[in-house]
C-alpha cells in the first residue's frame, strides 16, 4: 500500500467576502457619520413631537445642564473659512483684555462649548488636566454686574453680529430648572432674540378624536 504523504495543510480561510462586507460597512459608516459634537456636559434632552431637524451650521447654542450651569457654543458657520469662533474670541479678547496669546486663540477656535466667566477663560484654555478643566466650568454668568451687560449677553451679541444668519438653539436638560432657562431667554430677549429653537428628542405621539371622550 502506498504511503499517503500527509500534506502539511496550512489552513487558511478565504477572507475575501468578509473583507468585502467590511469595506461596504466601513464606507457606509464613514459616509453617514455625523459626529456627536463633544459637549461640555451630557445633556438629556426632553422629548417632543417636533420633527424639525437641528440645523448643523449657523447655530449659536446655549446649553443648560441639569445642575443649572450655562454653556455657550458657536459653530464656524456653513462657510468654514469664516472662522467665526476665532473671530469671536479675538474680538472679545481685545474688548475685555483677556490677554490671550495666539495659541490660546487657536485653541478656542477648535474647541466646542465652554462655560466659565471670561476672566478664567485663559486658565481654562491652558489647563490640560480634564478633571481640573471640568471643575473650572462653573457656567457663564448671567447676572448684570453694575452697568455691564451679563456675560452671556455679550457672547450672544457678538456671535450674532459676526454671523447674522445664526439661529439660537437652547439645549436644556430635562431636569434643568425652568428658572435658569427663563433667565437665558431673558438675557437673549434683551439682546433682541425672540425666536428660540429648543433642542428635543423626537417622540412620536398623536392625538386621536377618541381622546376627546
Amino acid at each position: 500500500m502506498a504511503k499517503i504523504k500527509l500534506k502539511r495543510a496550512q489552513p487558511h480561510v478565504d477572507m475575501t467576502p468578509m473583507v468585502d462586507l467590511f469595506s461596504l460597512l466601513l464606507t457606509f459608516f464613514m459616509l453617514t457619520a455625523s459626529f456627536r459634537p463633544q459637549e461640555a456636559k451630557v445633556i438629556d434632552s426632553p422629548s417632543s413631537v417636533s420633527e424639525k431637524a437641528t440645523p448643523d451650521k449657523d447655530v449659536i447654542s446655549v446649553l443648560v445642564s441639569s445642575d443649572d450651569k450655562v454653556f455657550f457654543s458657536m459653530d464656524n458657520g456653513s462657510d468654514t473659512s469664516a472662522h467665526f469662533r476665532t473671530k469671536l474670541i479675538t474680538e472679545i479678547n481685545d474688548l475685555y483684555r483677556l490677554k490671550l496669546t495666539e495659541k490660546e486663540i487657536t485653541k478656542f477656535g477648535q474647541g466646542s462649548s465652554f462655560g466659565m466667566p471670561m476672566k478664567s477663560l485663559k486658565a481654562f484654555l491652558n489647563e490640560e488636566d480634564a478633571n481640573k478643566k471640568e471643575a473650572m466650568q462653573v457656567g457663564i454668568p448671567m447676572d448684570t454686574v453694575g452697568d455691564q451687560y451679563p456675560e452671556l449677553g455679550i457672547w450672544v451679541a457678538y456671535a450674532r453680529e459676526l454671523n447674522p444668519l445664526a439661529e439660537v438653539a437652547i439645549n436644556g436638560d430635562a431636569n434643568a430648572n425652568y428658572k435658569t432657562v427663563k433667565k437665558v431667554m431673558d438675557v437673549m430677549q434683551a439682546g433682541g432674540v425672540n425666536k428660540f429653537n429648543l433642542v428635543t428628542n423626537l417622540q412620536k405621539e398623536e392625538a386621536k378624536p377618541e381622546d376627546l371622550k
Binding site: 473583507v19 426632553p46 431637524a53 440645523p55 425652568y178 432657562v181 392625538a207
Partner: protein
Amino acid sequence: MAEIIENTGSGKKKGGRRAPKRMGAHIDMTPMVDLMCLLITFFMLTTAFSKPKVMEITMPEKDTDKEETEGPKVDAQRTYSILLSEDDRVFWYHHGAVPKDQTFPESITETDFSKDGLRKILLQKNEKVFTEIYELKEKVKKGELVLIEDSLNAQIKRIKKSDKKSPIILIKADEKTKYRSIVNVVDEMAICNIANYAIVDIAPEEVALIEKTPKK
C-alpha cells in the same frame, strides 16, 4: 496562515533563467481585517443616528421702553391659563368674562400630563380646529387628497387661523418648575393643534393659588 510568498529570484539576477513560479497569490488579510473591525466599531459608536430635533418657540417681545403699550385685545372667554409647578404639577383655569383688570379665580383645577389629563382638556376646548385638521390629515394619509407637504402645512395654518373661537392658552411657570414641564406643555400645544399660545410670566396671585391647592 495565508501569506505572500516572496519571489526569491529578485531582479538583480538577470542571468539565470527561471521558470516562472506559478503561485496563487494570496495576501495575508488579517491585519487589514483587524483594522477594519476597529474602524467599523469606532464609526458605529461615534455616529449619531437620531439627530436631535428642535422645537421652535417665539416669545412675546419684551417692552424695552417702559411705555405702557396696549397689548392685543384678547377675548377673556377664549383664554385659559395653564400653570406649572414643581414635580410636574399642572393646573389650569378659565379666565371667563373678565372685563379689564385681571382677576383671579377662587381655585384652580389640577390635572396631569397624561392622555386623559391636559390633552383631553385641550382637545375639548379646541375640538373644531383639531377635528378639521385631523380629517384633513386622514384624507391625505388615505390618498383621497393629494397634497404636497407645503400646501398641507399652509392649509393647517389656515384652519388654525379660521376659528375665531379657538382657545388662547397662556402658559405660566413658577420658580420651581423643571424645564421638561415647559417643553411638555408646548409639545401638548403642537399635538392638540392649538393655534394661539404664549409663555408668559406668572403673577404672584397665581403662585399663591398653586400653593393653596393641596397635593394629590
